[in-house]
C-alpha cells in the first residue's frame, strides 16, 4: 500500500461526504441564490424595496446559509438517509484548521481588494481562480473528477466573461449562476444514482 493510512482515510471520508450528492445540491442552490441576488442588486431600481432586500439578503442571509449548509446536509442524512448512507460521528473541526483558514483569508483578501481596486474586471478571473483552486483541491483530495471539472469550468467561464463586454456585476451573476447550475445537475445525478444503488 503506497498511501499513508491517514491520507487514505481522508480520501475515503471526502468521498463518503460527497457520495449522495447532497453537498453539491446544497452548494448549487447557494450559488444560484448568490447569482440571483447579485443580478437583482444590479438590475432593480436604486433604493427600491427589492434592491434593499437583495442587498440585505446578500450581506446577512448568505453567510448564514453558507455556515448552515454542512449541518443541514448532516441533518437531512440522519433524518431520511441513514439506512442508505450509514451513521458517522466526525471528530470536531480542529482550532488549528480554523486558524489556517483565517490566515489564508488574511493574506488573500487584501490582495484581492488591491487588485480589484486597481482594475474592477479582475474580480471575475480572481473569483474564477480561487473557486477553481478550492474545487480542484477538494476534488483532488477525494479523487472526484466532477468537482475538479467544476473548478475548471468556473475558471474558464470567469476568464471568458472577463474578456467579454458584459458589466462586471452581471458577469459575476452569470458566473455564480453557471456554477450553481453545474453543481445542481451533477449533484442531482449523483443523488439519483445513490438512491438507485442497491449495494
Amino acid at each position: 500500500m503506497k498511501d499513508d493510512p491517514k491520507v487514505l482515510a481522508n480520501r475515503l471520508l471526502q468521498r463518503a461526504w460527497n457520495r449522495d450528492g447532497l453537498p453539491e445540491i446544497g452548494s448549487g442552490l447557494t450559488f444560484l441564490v448568490t447569482g440571483g441576488l447579485i443580478y437583482a442588486q444590479e438590475v432593480l431600481p436604486r433604493r427600491s424595496p427589492g434592491q434593499i432586500t437583495a442587498i440585505l439578503a446578500f450581506a446577512f442571509g448568505l453567510p448564514v446559509v453558507c455556515l448552515g449548509l454542512q449541518p443541514m446536509v448532516k441533518r437531512v442524512r440522519s433524518q431520511w438517509l441513514i439506512q442508505r448512507s450509514g451513521y458517522v460521528e466526525h471528530v470536531p473541526f480542529r482550532k488549528r484548521n480554523y486558524l489556517w483558514a483565517l490566515a489564508v483569508m488574511a493574506i488573500v483578501a487584501p490582495l484581492v481588494f488591491l487588485a480589484v481596486n486597481h482594475e474592477e474586471r479582475l474580480l471575475l478571473p480572481i473569483t474564477g481562480a480561487l473557486g477553481a483552486l478550492l474545487g480542484g483541491l477538494i476534488g483532488w483530495r477525494g479523487r472526484m473528477v466532477r468537482l475538479m471539472a467544476g473548478g475548471a469550468l468556473l475558471l474558464v467561464s470567469a476568464v471568458l466573461l472577463a474578456l467579454s463586454s458584459i458589466p462586471v456585476q452581471i458577469g459575476m451573476a452569470v458566473l455564480f449562476g453557471l456554477q450553481g447550475l453545474y453543481y445542481l445537475i451533477t449533484g442531482g445525478v449523483v443523488f439519483l444514482r445513490f438512491m438507485h444503488d442497491e449495494r
Binding site: 493510512p5 491517514k6 475515503l12 471520508l13 450509514g86 458517522v88 449495494r199
Partner: protein, 98 residues
C-alpha cells in the same frame, strides 16, 4: 539492508492487510461510524467487512456496540486506544521504510 527496512518485519500483520488497514484508518479519522457507513465508504462486501471487523474486535483494535437510533438498528464501531497505538506504530514503520 538498512534498519528501517528490517523493521518492516515488525509490522502488525493484523492491520497490514489492506481491507483491515482501510477500516482501521477510517475509524481512526472519525469518532465512531456504523457498519453501513463503513460498508459504503470502503466498498467491501458486507460479508467481508463483517469478517474483518470480527478479527479486529478479537485483536482489541476495534470496539463494536449494537444499538438503535429510533427504529433503525446500528452496529457502531470505534477504534480502541490499542488500535490507535498500533496504527501509529504501523505508520511510523512504513513511513521510515519508504
Amino acid at each position: 539492508m538498512s534498519a528501517e527496512i528490517q523493521r518492516l518485519g515488525e509490522v502488525d500483520r493484523m492491520i497490514h492487510e489492506p481491507s483491515r488497514l482501510m477500516v482501521v484508518a477510517l475509524l481512526a479519522a472519525v469518532k465512531e461510524a456504523d457498519f453501513q457507513y463503513l460498508h459504503q465508504s470502503t466498498g467491501l462486501s458486507k460479508g467481508n467487512l463483517s469478517v474483518h471487523l470480527s478479527k479486529l474486535e478479537t485483536a482489541g483494535y476495534v470496539a463494536i456496540e449494537k444499538t438503535f437510533r429510533g427504529k433503525y438498528p446500528l452496529t457502531i464501531c470505534r477504534i480502541t486506544d490499542r488500535g490507535r497505538e498500533v496504527l501509529e506504530g504501523y505508520r511510523a514503520i512504513i513511513k521510515a521504510a519508504l
